[in-house]
């Protein structure tokens, strides 16, 4: 990881008495692919705009490449943006759009043309220079928007939900292409999305935001497997939650009571006896056994309510005897038929000890 290229130091920003970014401190490192992830309206775009210089902050500092940049106008920052709506100039050709930044800087014509060609090739649009913007598909416009930004060779590329307007298949392709582009250019990408799958598959690091605050920062695996709080757990991936209570602990392990069943789980956060907890389990971490097979470990009991065949997995919806519904995912393995259950079949539900995430239930 390189040195810090962007640092937020206690940055606060509000619009009409409403705090949109609330005292955020964050370091972004040179060359990383960082994703700001969070629900709509949580302040992601505002964060990007403060880096771009399109929005000023009310308090705190935005430091870009070692320079406090609060008062540096957008035009003078070594940062370029791919806007959510693309924001291409409708009265210009593809070439004129991409050349705009360089010609403002007064670069010689020959150099501009060469760089534009290079950028067009980079986004796989070679030969499209003379097209009018209106005559491009959504995906092509998006590539032009990327080319128009990267042709200026910025230190940082900001991408505000650049894939949200594309159809599902194109979106998946573009994820890969953006990763490759990131590797080729070696610059910092700051990517905004509210799509958790996009964030998990593309990023080096994810910053999960909610209500103008950072909930958790970490690598995708960390965020997924060790969510710091209930918000993150709920927002990223599918989860089953069980409310419970600690009945005893030796510091490393603890006995808990969930759904009136005694279980033993890891105590990673110094939980104490009688504390209310919430156990979080991903559908793929659940272990399902037929009740007829004499389940051994401590387990919850339930019945299969729904079986959803998904090609590479079988998803079950199980109703516990307490009435609570949970979701599980079973992967096909050698003896495939083992994972097909009959409707209403009685099953035992447990999980691999240690894979659960236990959070305080506030």
């Amino acid at each position: 990881m390189g040195k810090q290229i962007v640092s937020f130091k206690g940055v606060t920003k509000g619009f009409d008495n409403q705090t949109v970014v609330d005292n955020i401190s964050l370091d972004i490192y040179g060359g990383e692919f960082l994703t700001l992830l969070g629900p709509s309206g949580c302040g992601k775009t505002t964060m990007l705009r403060m880096i771009a210089g399109l929005e000023s902050c009310d308090e705190g500092q935005v430091i870009i490449n070692g320079v406090v940049s609060n008062d540096i106008p957008a035009a003078e920052r070594d940062v370029n943006t791919v806007f959510q709506s693309y924001a291409l100039f409708p009265h210009m050709t593809v070439l004129q759009n991409i050349a705009f930044g360089l010609s403002l800087k007064g670069r010689p014509e020959a150099e501009i043309l060469e760089k534009v060609e290079e950028a067009l090739a980079m986004v796989k649009l070679a030969g499209f220079g003379e097209r009018r913007i209106q005559r491009l598909s959504g995906g092509q416009q998006q590539r032009v928007a990327i080319a128009r930004a990267i042709v200026n060779e910025p230190l940082i590329l900001l991408l505000d939900e650049p894939l949200s307007a594309l159809d599902h298949k194109l979106r998946k392709e573009m994820r890969l292409e953006l990763r490759q582009l990131h590797r080729k250019l070696g610059i910092t990408f700051i990517f905004v999305t509210h799509d958790q799958e996009e964030a998990l598959t593309m990023s080096d690091r994810i910053v999960v935001m909610n209500n103008g605050k950072i909930e958790q920062t970490g690598e995708p695996k960390e965020i997924y497997e060790e969510p710091a709080n209930l918000f993150v757990a709920d927002f990223i991936g599918e989860s089953n939650f069980f409310d419970g209570r600690v009945t005893g602990t030796d510091g490393h392990w603890m006995d808990i009571l969930v759904e009136d069943v005694a279980m033993t789980v890891r105590n990673r956060r110094g939980f104490f006896v009688n504390q209310d907890i919430r156990v979080l389990l991903r559908p793929e971490d659940m272990v399902i056994q037929r009740a007829s097979d004499d389940c051994d470990q401590p387990h919850l009991k339930g019945r299969v309510e729904e079986l959803i065949y998904k090609g590479n997995t079988v998803d079950l919806v199980i109703r516990l005897n307490s009435g609570k519904r949970i979701a599980t995912t079973e992967f096909f393995n050698e003896d495939a038929e083992e994972i097909f259950y009959a409707q209403n079949e009685a099953v035992c539900i447990s999980w691999i000890q240690g894979w659960e995430v236990v959070l305080p239930n506030e």
Partner: protein, 255 residues
């Protein structure tokens, strides 16, 4: 049903265009007073161009129309830009007031302007006429230009800033080219409005600066002269061409 629809439209258009057609036809009529047809001639057009008073009035009219429309377009475009680019308190009511002046009766505007000019001690003539025409053209320009720029994606301006453009460069390379068709349309509209205004001009011009519509007005009080028919025909054709031009200007690039 289709037949009914077509005949209905035909009636509407006959209603609209018969008077103009009659005027055009009579401008070629050899008879002087009569409403009878006495064969085709171009002599009224020749007579029109020999009529020095009318020609002088025409030159005056065109001078006023050209200058007032240019001034109104410049001020109005900047006004529309201000409404678009800046968020200030009272922006909405101010914009509504633009419509108010557009809708207010000519007679009100004429009388209020003449009062103002008299109070200011301005001599009625070219200058007062010019000021008056700029005044009533201005709202039309603001509305035409604003309608177009308010349709722009505001992120386009952010994108220009992001790519290194300053205020002037944004204006020169983004806003101006994108609004140019509406600016041209606003100018044409002002030009034609100025050219055929009677009521406001009647109040604010002086005796030594005669303009065409007023001249025609005073001429027809003594009966319609055939050369006036010829003049009106020319003006109609000119208007028609302007409307077509404006249509294409506004349509271009909105696709």
């Amino acid at each position: 049903m289709a037949l009914l629809k077509r005949s209905y439209l035909t009636l509407v258009y006959l209603f609209l265009y018969i008077p103009i057609l009659v005027l055009i036809v009579y401008s070629f009529n050899a008879a002087k007073y009569a409403t009878v047809w006495k064969g085709a001639t171009l002599k009224w057009y020749a007579k029109l161009f020999e009529n020095e008073m009318l020609m002088d009035a025409m030159v005056n009219s065109i001078t006023v129309a050209v200058t007032s429309s240019i001034v109104a377009t410049a001020i109005g475009t900047l006004g529309a830009l201000a409404f678009y680019r800046y968020r200030f308190t009272g922006r909405k009511p101010l914009y509504a007031m633009v419509y108010t002046t557009m809708m207010s009766p000519d007679i009100v505007m004429g009388i209020s302007l003449v009062c103002l000019f008299v109070i200011l001690g301005l001599k009625l003539g070219f200058i007062t006429l010019l000021l008056a025409h700029v005044t009533f053209c201005l709202p039309f320009v603001i509305v035409t230009v604003y309608a177009r720029i308010s349709g722009f994606d505001p992120a386009v301006i952010d994108a220009a800033k992001d790519l290194g453009a300053g205020e002037f460069q944004i204006f020169r390379h983004i806003i101006l080219p994108m609004t140019a068709p509406a600016v041209a349309a606003g100018w044409l509209l002002s030009f034609t409005l100025s050219l055929d205004d009677v009521i406001v001009s009647f109040f604010v011009t002086g005796p030594e600066f005669e303009i065409l519509p007023l001249k025609i007005y005073s001429m027809v009080r003594l009966g319609v002269k055939p050369e006036v028919n010829a003049l009106c025909t020319l003006m109609f054709i000119f208007t028609l061409l302007s409307v077509i031009a404006a249509h294409y200007l506004v349509k271009e690039k909105t696709k």
